[in-house]
Amino acid sequence: MDEEYGRKWDRCLADSAVKIGTGLGVGVILSVLLFKRRTWPVAFSAGTGLGMAYSNCQNDFRSPYLLHGRMVKDQ
């Protein structure tokens, strides 16, 4: 029970880290390539990433009875 809570938080944090990082990266690339090294694409995509992570976390917390499955690859 309590472990599940902790697990959820771990997942959330990991997910958010990934998303924000990805957003940052994508933003940097976009700003360098398309938007003449402005800062706003970076902030924008980082924010997008953050937002996505937030939303995911919320959903995860709101659906407590949803089980998270893992893909087992055939070997």
Partner: protein, 732 residues
């Protein structure tokens, strides 16, 4: 409105602040002026505007509430003190308007009741009227009443008449004294005998008189006829004597015969008269006897009387007829005799004349034809002529007087005829009257006979009915008496029987009582022995049960720090076996949760340890409710948990109020009870958690529940085993 005010205030505050920040040197005086002025004007404006709006809103609400009571009630419900305000300004709320259904319904009911009341009031009146002399029924109220009334009056009057008759009948027997039957029969017999005697006497009388009268009447009739014959003879003789011119001898012989005949006739007439008188007397006597017989009023004599009367009448009639004949003959004879007298007179006269003329010639002048002289002859012829003239003159006179004489004679005749007619009519009337009377009497007698016969039949019928009625009454009486006698007989019999039965019953009862007593004691002994056996058996079983329960209890203690106990299945099985026949114990044994049987339960210590973790986590997610709020909420609840300080352990109250249902409070209560070892209370308290904390504590709650259930069942079983053991052990 509030927001507007707030905005206004904020704006004002901001302006003030801005004014302060804007410039330092102009701020001083600016502050003074601007703050005073600006704030004054703007603040005044704002305050005025706000007041206006507030007042307008209130006024509008009040006016609309006055117009629409529903709105008023809504406002009163929602805004707390508005009902007081409305009361002050508008007055009390209007009362609720109920649709007037009841009065409409009441009215028809009233009307009908009124009509019924009138009906009822009329009914007793009608009854009173009917009770009085029957008046004509009224038309108004109802049709049913009229026939009822029509039926009502007829019964009362007949009842009244019947009553009157009954009273009369009641009077009559009182006045009449009933003679005893024997006296009545004796009287009747005497009456009958007297009647018979009188009847006999009457009949004999009647017969006698009838006979005598008949005889006399016959004699009278005979005499009358003889007289008649004599008269006829005499008349004949007279006629003969008158007519014939015979020799002197024959004449004298004739005259002598005539005299004889006359004598005879007179004799016969006298005889006839006497006989007539006698007959009349006898008839009178007969009449007297008949009337006396009629007076006696005996029915049996009536036909005889009637016959006698008839005979009498006939005799009278005959007599009268004969008398009439005789009278006729007499009148004829008179005529003839008158004629003869006349003739004799004439003859004498002639003789005298002749003598006066011719005194010499004597009587028989017819033979003197040769002796007479011519003078004598001439004188004789002259006398004869004179006589002829005289006679002619007389004849002529006579002829003249004939008419008058005839008339007078006719008148006389008429008178006499009239008289005779009258007498004849009278006699005929008398006869007719007599005949009618006789016929009437005959008819009356017949009718009377018929009536007598009918009355006799009716009386016979009545007598028959009377005998029938008597028979019936006697039968009924007989039955009644028989029933009475039988009843008394059966009563006596029953009494005797009951007495006998009672005695036998008493004997039997005593015997059965002794037998029952002995039997009961035997039974008691047997039962005591059986119960002993049973009790020992029970004790053994209880012992076994107790042992098995103890084993189960021991197995509970085998739980580790974090691991559950061993599965309780074996012990439970043992328990079930030892209490195979006891339903209660069986139920308890089967009520152990399957989890505990298969997996075992956690101990209290482990649960306590876990509780702390649960508590921490619950604190952290206290703000999250069932809707699973956003992450922001999670952040806030984390902050709250970090910042909120509450006592770790707080004593839970006897009753939980709604304010105690806060997560933190509940957790502190639960902690307190856990520390004191009250797992049950802690579980109850944690059950009151809502939202995410509840979900967090769910697992722990389940475990706690399992443990509690198992412990409860086991404690019950052990208590039961102890009780059974106590019950079955015997005091030394």
């Amino acid at each position: 409105m509030l927001r507007v005010c707030l905005r206004g205030a904020n704006a004002a505050a901001r302006q003030c602040v801005c004014g302060k920040v804007a410039g330092h040197p102009p701020l001083q005086h600016c502050r003074r002026y601007t703050s005073a002025g600006d704030s004054g004007v703007s603040a005044g404006k704002i305050v005025a505007a706000s007041l206006l709006t507030v007042g307008g809103g209130l006024g509008g609400t009040i006016i609309y509430a006055k117009w629409d009571p529903k709105f008023r009630s809504n406002v009163e419900k929602t805004v707390p003190y508005s009902d007081k305000v409305f009361g002050m300004t508008l007055g009390p709320p209007p009362p609720p308007v109920i649709v007037p259904k009841k009065p409409a319904k009441v009215e028809p009911l009233q009307i009908s009741s009124v009509s019924e009341a009138t009906k009822d009031s009329k009914q007793p009146k009608k009854e009173k009227k009917a009770k009085e002399a029957a008046p004509p029924p009224e038309e108004a109220p109802a049709v049913e009443e009229a026939p009822a009334d029509a039926a009502a009056p007829p019964p009362p009057p007949p009842a009244q008449t019947i009553e009157g008759e009954c009273t009369e009948c009641a009077h009559e027997p009182a006045t009449l004294k009933e003679r005893p039957a024997e006296e009545v029969t004796a009287l009747l017999a005497a009456k009958d005998a007297a009647e018979q005697d009188t009847l006999a006497s009457i009949s004999s009388n009647l017969d006698e008189t009838l006979g005598s009268s008949a005889k006399t009447t016959m004699a009278a009739i005979g005499a009358q006829e003889a007289a008649l014959a004599a008269i006829a003879v005499h008349t004949e003789k007279l006629k003969e004597a008158m007519d014939e011119e015979g020799a002197a001898d024959t004449k004298s012989a004739q005259w002598r015969a005539l005299e004889e005949a006359l004598n005879e006739r007179s004799k016969a007439v006298d005889e006839a008269g006497a006989a007539l008188l006698r007959a009349r007397d006898e008839l009178e006597k007969l009449k007297g006897v008949i009337t006396s017989a009629k007076d006696t009023n005996i029915d049996a004599a009536r036909p005889q009387v009637l016959a006698a009367e008839e005979n009498l009448h006939n005799m009278i009639v005959d007599l009268d007829k004969v008398v009439g004949k005789v009278q006729l003959a007499q009148s004829e004879a008179k005529i003839v005799s008158q004629y003869s007298d006349l003739v004799n007179e004439a003859k004498a006269q002639f003789q005298k004349e002749l003598d006066s003329i011719t005194p010499e010639i004597k009587a028989s002048w017819k033979g003197l034809a040769g002796k007479l002289t011519t003078d004598d002859l001439n004188s004789l012829i002259a006398h004869a002529h004179r006589r002829i003239d005289q006679l002619n003159r007389e004849l002529a006179e006579q002829r003249v007087r004939e008419q008058i004489h005839i008339e007078t004679a006719l008148d006389q005749q008429k008178l006499e005829h009239q008289k005779a007619l009258e007498t004849a009519v009278l006699t005929a009337l008398e006869h007719n009257r007599e005949e009618m009377r006789l016929e009437q009497e005959k008819k009356v007698a017949e009718v009377r006979e018929v009536m007598e016969a009918e009355m006799r039949t009716q009386l016979r019928r009545q007598a028959a009915a009377h005998t029938d009625h008597l028979r019936d009454v006697l039968k009924v009486q007989e039955q009644e008496l028989r029933a009475e006698a039988e009843e008394t007989l059966t009563n006596k019999m029953q009494e005797q029987e009951t007495h006998y039965r009672r005695l036998t019953q008493e004997q039997l009862d005593a015997f059965t009582l002794d037998m029952n007593a002995a039997y009961a004691r035997l039974k008691g002994v047997e039962e005591a022995i059986d119960s002993h056996v049973i009790a020992e058996e029970e004790a053994r079983k209880a012992h076994q049960l107790w042992l098995s329960v103890e084993a189960l209890n021991y197995s509970l203690r085998t739980s580790g720090a974090d691991a559950p106990t061993e599965p309780l299945e074996a012990a439970a099985l043992a328990v079930r076996e030892s209490c195979a026949d006891n339903e209660f114990a069986q139920a308890l044994a089967t009520s152990l949760p399957t989890e505990s049987l298969s997996r075992g339960v956690y101990s209290e210590a482990s649960l306590r340890a876990r509780f702390q973790d649960v508590r921490k986590l619950a604190r952290r997610v206290a703000l999250i409710d069932e809707t699973r709020n956003s992450l922001y909420q999670y952040f806030l609840s984390y902050v709250q948990a970090a910042l909120l300080m509450e006592p770790e352990q707080e004593r839970p109250p006897e009753r939980l109020s709604p304010t105690d249902l806060d997560t933190f409070k509940l957790l502190s209560y639960a902690c307190y009870s856990m520390e004191r070892g009250d797992l049950e209370l802690a579980a109850k308290l944690l059950n009151q958690l809502t939202g995410e904390p509840r979900r967090v504590a769910q697992d722990w709650l389940n475990e706690a529940r399992l443990t509690l259930e198992t412990r409860q069942a086991i404690s019950l079983l052990s208590a039961y085993a102890n009780a059974v053991g106590l019950g079955t052990t015997q005091a030394p």
